[in-house]
């Protein structure tokens, strides 16, 4: 494990991975500075990148901003979890039952095509001014990608595999847990990753409308006070929060749907093989457990 981490962090490897985005960033910053230098854009609207960096570090070093980061993070994570839970809870019965699918499908689509930002003020009026309203807005925005992807995942399970399960006498529950859930996980995670970012958007929209604290409140406050580099610094923080949420889902996906990632699958197979060998040596006989294999690779 440690060797793998060291290898991943080796300067040569890091350099190879980082130079393309760094070059792009340098070009972007160069154009930004040029636009300011020739006064194509006013400094009152677009501050110098270095001012944003300075503001960012000053804000990170201050105490008050952490309350706002915590508020936005909590609203996003709770909203995402609520939206994902509702999405999965409705997608599973819809995937298993055509009647449920017909019953819920039109409403899920109707919810998706309704501009949810427009109903955000109403949600705040109904759910109150505290965290709950922001969590519900985030949840409603995060719901659809999870619902659609989970449903698609369940409906697109390999027909041959389903037939095999049937011929082996698997029960509906066994088919569901051993075939449909693992089969739909990759698509489901694509929806979860999209939903994680959308939940953050929902939380910030809610904060724009009515909140006591949160990064959305700070952006508005700084913007109305013409503290524009501070406003950009908060937007940078929101970007990092979005990356954090996306990264968390990416990590969960790599851990859960390990068979989609060669290195993880091989490592897991090796660990199992080593375990089996140890057991064999201890018992002095043929290992009783199953042999490691790559047969499950999809």
């Amino acid at each position: 494990m440690a060797r793998r981490v060291l290898h991943a962090l080796s300067p040569a490897r890091l350099g190879r991975r980082l130079w393309p985005p760094l070059v792009f960033l340098a070009i972007l910053l160069g154009l930004w500075e040029l636009a300011l230098a020739v006064e194509y854009v006013s400094e009152s609207i677009l501050p110098h990148p270095k001012d944003i960096v300075v503001s960012f570090w000053e804000l990170i070093g201050s105490e008050f901003v952490w309350d706002d980061i915590g508020a936005t993070l909590w609203e996003s994570v709770a909203g995402f979890a609520l939206g994902a839970a509702l999405g999965l809870a409705l997608a599973i019965p819809s995937g298993l039952s055509p009647v449920m699918r017909q019953m819920l499908g039109p409403y899920a689509v109707a919810l998706q095509v309704t501009p949810r930002i427009a109903i955000a003020p109403l949600i705040i009026a109904w759910a109150g001014f505290g965290y709950s309203s922001k969590i519900w807005i985030a949840a409603i925005i995060a719901f659809f990608p999870v619902y659609v992807n989970a449903l698609t995942g369940i409906l697109t399970v390999d027909e041959d595999a389903r037939e095999m399960f049937r011929s082996l006498g698997a029960s509906r529950w066994q088919t569901f847990t051993h075939l449909m859930v693992p089969g739909s996980l990759p698509i489901m995670f694509a929806g979860l990753k999209t939903a994680a970012g959308l939940a953050l958007v929902g939380a910030v929209v809610g904060e724009f409308i009515s909140a006591e604290r949160g990064l959305g409140v700070l952006v508005q406050q700084f913007s109305s006070q013409l503290a524009i580099s501070d406003a950009f610094a908060v937007i940078l923080m929101l970007m990092f929060l979005g990356l954090l949420l996306y990264g968390a889902m990416e990590w969960l996906e790599r851990t859960t749907v390990f068979w989609l990632h060669d290195a993880r699958l091989v490592a897991r197979s090796r660990r199992r093989a080593a375990k089996a060998e140890k057991k064999m040596a201890r018992d002095g006989g043929v290992p009783s457990g199953p042999q490691p294999t790559l047969a499950g690779r999809r």
């Binding site: 009152s44 001014f129 009515s210 700070l218 006070q225």
Partner: protein
């Protein structure tokens, strides 16, 4: 079948994780809604304090410094109230917070209260801390527009679509056809307002005094051309529903007495208010000039006509407010309200019944001790 074994193990984990997340999330989404509070601060001494939820147009801000000062100097605690802030925004009517039971008292606009009553609501104004209109119209200092009549043929930037009725009324009063004026919703972003004014895309801006002040503090010179009578209309009077007033009278009076004491501190000891504002809302002081200007504006807006009757209600300016709405066609002449019935000044004497010297001493002590 090794793969099946592995798959089963990890599917179960994933399911468990999703279920756990779902339980947590549903708990969070459906739970009680008081967790974000804090603007109101301490619970008061000995568990005797009564909670009161108040609605302000902003998050905690120096623009409404009395809540910050009352909390810091212990005025709320003295009065046995535990206030909780329900911050609103332009999109939600302040009176809706009362109708929905989301707030006990709400700092609304004069027109919001008049409109709510004209539609049959029982909303009443019981306290009015700002004896100056917080809304207005400004032009760049060097503009040739001197008053509302000069707006003809020009483009006016608006804070929000809601500002249209305010502009229409001012235009009608000045005898300017509203069809001759173009409007554009610019929003409240300071840099954007400054840029559109500077570029000449808008010639005037209808918005809030706090926005004008922030712009002026950042070298965008502006001139206020709001008609004098409109400028006198109270900003953000406090609205309440009669049933709530009956039920929570003691707490409401306590809350407003603490507010009045803190408002008074602003009139006699600016330094202490600034010290408290810097501590309570540090984000507003990231831009020093804006912070200073916002506090000066708040203190000016809250200068009472009679220092012994802080928050007094002035029926004449409400009549003007109603006239503005009728002129703009927002309400029909037949739907106008009886202003006297909308105002209840029976609490003002009680709210102002406290020792000025004691409050001054408390502020002095805080300023010297911190």
């Amino acid at each position: 079948m090794q793969t099946r074994r592995e798959t089963r193990v990890f599917s179960s984990k994933a399911l468990l994780a999703v279920m756990a997340a779902g339980v947590v999330a549903i708990g969070a989404g459906c739970g009680s809604d008081d967790e974000e509070g804090g603007g109101g601060g301490g619970s008061g001494g000995g568990g005797e304090s009564q909670e009161i939820v108040y609605n302000l147009p902003t998050p905690p801000s120096a623009l409404f410094y009395p809540t910050l000062v009352a909390e810091e100097l212990g005025f709320f605690e003295e009065e046995g109230v535990s206030p909780k802030l329900a911050p609103a925004a332009e999109e939600i009517s302040a009176t809706a917070f009362l109708d929905n039971g989301d707030a006990d008292v709400s700092f609304a606009d004069v027109d919001e209260i008049i409109l709510a009553r004209s539609k049959g609501g029982g909303h009443q104004a019981i306290f009015s801390p700002q004896h100056t209109n917080t809304a207005g119209i400004v032009v760049p200092d060097g503009s040739d527009i001197q008053d509302m009549s000069g707006i003809e043929g020009k483009t006016v930037g608006l804070e929000s679509e809601d500002s249209t009725r305010f502009l229409d009324a001012m235009l009608k009063e000045a005898g300017v056809d509203k069809g001759s004026v173009d409007t554009a919703v610019v929003g409240t972003s300071g840099p954007l307002i400054a840029k559109t004014l500077e570029d000449g895309k808008i010639h005037a801006y209808v918005g809030n005094a706090s926005d004008f002040t922030a712009l002026s503090a950042n070298d965008v010179a502006l001139r206020n051309i709001t008609p004098e009578d409109v400028g006198r209309i109270d900003g953000n009077p406090l609205a309440v529903l009669p049933d709530t007033l009956k039920e929570k009278r003691k707490a409401i009076v306590g809350f407003l007495r603490a507010w009045a004491k803190a408002q008074y501190v602003g009139q006699v000891n600016r330094e202490v208010v600034e010290e408290i504002a810097r501590k309570k809302v540090p984000a507003e002081w990231r831009n020093e000039a804006s912070g200073e200007a916002a506090l000066d504006l708040a203190i000016t807006l809250m200068k009472p006509d009679d220092p012994k009757r802080i928050g007094d209600l002035r029926p004449d300016v409400w009549d003007t407010g109603q006239d503005v709405l009728v002129t703009a066609g927002v309400i029909e002449q037949g739907d106008t309200i009886n202003v006297e019935e909308a105002l209840d000044d029976s609490l003002i004497a009680e709210i102002n019944d406290w020792d000025r010297a004691e409050v001054e001493a408390a502020a002095e002590k805080y300023g010297g001790g911190s």
